[in-house]
């Protein structure tokens, strides 16, 4: 679509990110075929066994990947307003750091402490510069979530340092 768009690049050549998506999908389709091929299948089910649908899915993915790649060669499809906005990678990095910290700390420290760290990092990524206040907010919120889920929904969330202090 961007080919006919007067605002887009005057040389609608290969759009790299879109091409990578196409190639990535093709690789995924290949991986599905490979994983399906190594599945041991009982001859009883040889007609429509557990491998038929995976093969169909892989074939579909491969065709779609090629179609996407062709679109990428013709200039890609990413909407113009998406291209114009420069991604704020620093914000994304803080959010991602929060997620990684959370998965690393949830085991040793428990849900509440890990969530408070997540809260502070994500809020920082979104431009908040009040780490202490955010830590308190995050702590209160995650305790509320912890008790809400653990008690009301009966979901057992990993108790840790803070939960034990509160005798939960």
């Amino acid at each position: 679509m961007s080919v006919s768009d007067p605002h887009s690049d005057p040389h609608p050549g290969l759009a790299l990110p879109e091409a990578l998506i196409g190639i990535g999908l093709l690789v995924c389709a290949g991986a599905v075929v490979w994983q399906t091929a190594v599945m041991p299948v009982s001859p009883m089910y040889s007609k429509v066994g557990p491998t038929v649908f995976p093969y169909m899915t892989a074939a579909g993915l491969a065709i779609l990947a090629i179609l996407l790649f062709i679109q990428a060669m013709r200039g890609g499809w990413q909407p113009d307003d998406e291209k114009e906005v420069k991604a704020d990678w620093k914000s994304v990095a803080f959010v991602a750091a929060g997620l990684v910290a959370n998965v690393a700390l949830i085991g040793p420290l428990g849900f509440t402490a890990a969530s408070a760290v997540l809260f502070v990092l994500v809020a920082h990524g979104f431009g908040s510069r009040q780490p202490i206040r955010n830590a308190v907010t995050g702590l209160v919120l995650s305790l509320a979530a912890y008790f809400g889920f653990a008690k009301a929904l009966g979901v057992n969330i990993g108790a840790g340092v803070i939960e034990r202090l509160l005798g939960a």
Binding site: L25, F53, L61, A65, I106, F111, F119
Partner: protein, 507 residues
């Protein structure tokens, strides 16, 4: 008459005080998440899925349905006052509603959208009550081949026809198929795509997928465009009362919107976006106040689409309850709630679970009444929710996303999977892939596979069952037409018109 007596029994279920409380909780929560940008009914219901282990099916579905309807009401408030649609189904509302708010008629816009939602929600729910038994009488004749073909048609409709690109929609759907296949094959016990990770034997949890795509993906996406411009909240001015003229301009638009919304929702195509666009176009065409469209804001342009989205939300319940065919991400997650109770939605559901189905339908009437009260006199409360600053809002969303996910299994594997799917959701948003088909493919893919294998087992491996049964053949031809028709038409017209801009998921 049968429907009416069944409905009376339904009200007996819905009007017990426990179920009224569930309904109130659902509608309140639904309105809140509808108002908040970044949160939607699909995500909320996914996070609350563990409740199915705790309470009776009637209670959870009354809660979920309240959330589903409530989000439709709440989303319009955000559209009107903030110009950022709270829900994908309320994008059109923002067009005229926000203009009206800017010219000081925000109160009337909110009123026409709440009352219109009420009128259309009531009509739509009546439609569910009367249409569901009719669909069931047809569906009883369906064999596995027909079911499979019907699902193929639904797949094409939800991924290829609705949305801006058939290729990208289908890609999302196929990724969903793949995610749905992970785990033990139910018919043979063969593990598939578990890559030796024992946590994956149970399959990718619906909660992880929905929360990853909708909450984590959305948060990453919003973070990446932090400086892309902020919308201001327009303070609510003027009374919520509509003038006689505004009533006169609204009521026909409500009825037309409901008439467009319900049938489209009830088709195995679903989606609340298309009917809102159609209704908007129709109102613009019929209006005597064309000059107000896009300038000061025309009330018909709010009334029609708002009615359409609520009626279609009701319509979506028809294929979900009678055929087990979810056509929106929210309906797909509700289907997985049925599965967690060991209940299979389908033509037999109305006979095997009458209290559940009719209790649910009756509770939808109750929900509509509660919602119009929640959304008109109490509107000020919801406006205050809009003032939650983005950093704390999104940080909070991620905290809840983590609880919901970690709580299911207490396994870091699920958290890692959540973040991987979140990264995928982020890329999908950035490159304009719709997310709802992933969820629909994930839940409906395995069901389609089951029907496919059943049909092939009955026919002894003969593929012709799919095209020798007349009904199955018809459905497949319809699917093919839906897939290729627009393309052929486009070539004939020789002009590529873009469909309505895709807006990711009904998260």
């Amino acid at each position: 008459m049968d429907t009416l007596s069944q409905l009376a029994h339904g009200f007996a279920v819905a009007l017990t005080w426990q179920n009224l409380l569930w309904c109130l909780l659902g509608t309140t929560l639904g309105t809140a998440i509808g108002v908040l940008p970044g949160l939607g009914p699909a995500l909320t219901i996914a996070l609350l899925l563990p409740i199915t282990f705790q309470v009776a099916p009637e209670a959870s579905f009354i809660l979920f349905a309240g959330i589903y309807y409530g989000a439709m009401y709440g989303g319009s408030t955000t559209s009107i006052l903030l110009n950022t649609p709270g829900e994908s189904a309320t994008i059109v509302t923002a067009l005229e509603g926000n203009k009206m708010a800017r010219s000081g008629r925000g109160g009337a816009a909110l009123a026409t959208s709440a009352i219109g939602s009420f009128v259309a929600g009531m009509i739509g729910t009546l439609g569910v009550a009367f249409l569901a038994p009719v669909v069931v009488s047809f569906a009883l004749a369906f064999g596995p081949a027909e079911y499979f073909s019907l699902m193929v048609l639904a797949f094409v409709m939800v991924s290829a026809v609705l949305g801006s690109s058939a290729v990208r929609g289908l890609t999302s759907l196929f990724v969903g198929f793949f995610l749905g296949m992970i785990g033990v094959d139910l018919q043979t016990g063969q593990p598939r795509f578990t890559f030796g990770v024992s946590e994956l034997l149970d399959g990718t949890s619906m909660i992880v997928a929905a929360v990853g795509l909708f909450a984590v993906g959305e948060t990453l996406y919003v973070a990446s465009r932090r400086y892309a411009g902020r919308d201001e909240i327009i303070p609510l001015k003027g009374s919520l009362y509509m003038t006689a003229q505004e009533w006169a301009r609204s009521w026909k638009a409500w009825l037309r919107g409901a008439a467009i919304g319900f049938p489209i929702g009830a088709l195995p195509a679903g989606g609340a976006e298309i009917p809102t666009f159609l209704s908007y176009a129709l109102e613009k065409k019929l209006s005597n106040h064309k000059e107000e469209f896009g300038t000061t804001g025309a009330i018909e342009g709010v009334a029609g689409p708002e009615a359409a989205n609520n009626a279609s939300a009701a319509g979506v319940l028809v294929p979900m309850l009678t055929l087990g065919l979810p056509t929106s991400a929210t309906a797909a997650i509700m289907l997985s709630a049925f599965q967690s109770y060991g209940i299979n939605p389908g033509p037999l559901l109305l006979q095997t679970q009458p209290a559940l189905v009719w209790g649910l339908v009756a509770s939808l009437f109750v929900a509509n009444v509660l919602l119009v009260i929640l959304n008109l006199p109490l509107i000020g409360l919801w406006v205050r929710l809009l003032k939650i600053p983005a950093p704390q809002l999104y940080a909070g969303i991620l905290v809840f996303a983590t609880v919901g996910t970690y709580g299911i299994s207490q396994s870091p594997v699920d958290l890692i999977l959540l973040y991987v799917l979140g990264a995928m959701g982020f890329l999908m948003r950035r490159f304009d892939f719709p997310t709802a088909p992933v969820i629909i493919g994930m839940i409906l893919g395995p069901l389609a596979e089951t029907q496919f294998r059943r049909a092939m087992t009955i026919s002894n491996g003969d593929w012709s069952v799919f095209y020798t049964h007349p009904l199955s053949l018809t459905l497949l031809i319809l699917a093919l037409l839906a897939l290729l028709g627009p393309r052929v038409y486009g070539i004939i017209v020789h002009r590529r018109t873009r469909g309505p801009e895709h807006v990711p998921g009904d998260a």
